[in-house]
Symmetry: C2
Subunit: 192 residues, 2 copies
């Protein structure tokens, strides 16, 4: 399969890491979002939403949305809990990630690292909501090594993507010791 | 099970509709987000993220995130396609809904209907992104009656929630005839 992705995007790296964990071969096609490469007519023919990551399978069928791709690739693997409730909690974290974590933590990082905005000029709302997301993660890790049960799941892969680079937007994870330890644990599992 | 939800929230109604489609009994506990009822210490003990909908099952376990709840309730039902690729496309739509549709369409509606903002004063970005979402839906419905395959799936239930009330924020779906027809089709399936 081909993975269209931008290496600066945690959403894209999630798919790469999941494929690597599963030992699934893929061709990475670097797609520079800052140069509009996900908005060309050729790319829009693959994904009308104009977003990376997008996967093209060997039969030509396509799939977008990082978390949907991960769930599809990992079906039947140990990255998805066998228990129905644990599986639902994993999905809860993954939808929360896209709604309540990525739009703040990833956006803050993008503005600082790729648009050159000084950390001091970040909108207060981005900073507040990012901290709220870290607090939520810290609570979720209170009594367990991974977000769901005792094993690495797609929830960890999804949430670590932007949490591990949050410091690039000026966030100090030392305030969230369980999150900090968990990032290291997940990075080790991912071979990062 | 108990469903904590606010009747003005499409995210909460998604869970109600899914439970009704499945014939699954539930107790609805009205939780007024505009009065901060999802931020009380009692509520935060149920869901530390302070968001509705949140479900409490009979055994006391909890689950949040509308789309995660729907996926859990509907496991093994006809609302989730049996084919792996169709299932992945359904998930693609559901993640896209939370990232690229709800944050614009639902937020615009909330500002107009519940905060009293005149339509003319909506941020241009909310309007542009909402129209981009409708265009994406129109494209997705070009050659099929439902978003995935020939049958109603959770993707339709999730996407119809705020699309059907988009007119309350001043959007005219007449520009998107396939979307308009699809809304009616899904509403009929939901008995609305």
């Amino acid at each position: 399969m081909k993975v269209y992705g931008d290496s600066i995007s945690g959403n894209c790296l999630k798919v790469k890491w999941t494929a690597e964990l599963l030992g699934r071969p893929f061709e990475w096609i670097e797609t520079d979002i800052t140069k509009g490469e996900s908005r060309t007519s050729a790319f829009l023919a693959i994904n009308p939403a104009g977003q990376v990551p997008t996967v093209v399978f060997d039969d030509g069928r396509t799939l977008a949305q990082s978390n949907a791709i991960m769930l599809h690739l990992a079906e039947g693997s140990a990255l998805i809990p066998a228990d129905a409730y644990d599986r639902a909690r994993m999905l809860e974290w993954m939808f929360w990630e896209q709604y309540s974590h990525e739009p703040y933590v990833a956006v803050a990082r993008f503005k600082v690292v790729y648009e050159g905005l000084p950390v001091a000029d970040l909108e207060p709302r981005l900073i507040e909501r990012s901290h709220a997301a870290f607090v939520r993660l810290e609570t979720g890790l209170a009594d367990r090594p991974y977000l769901v049960g005792d094993h690495l799941s797609l929830a960890d892969v999804a949430l670590v993507a932007y949490t591990r680079v949050a410091h690039e937007a000026g966030f100090d994870l030392a305030q969230y010791p369980r999150v900090k330890t968990w990032v290291t644990r997940v990075e080790e599992a991912l071979g990062l």
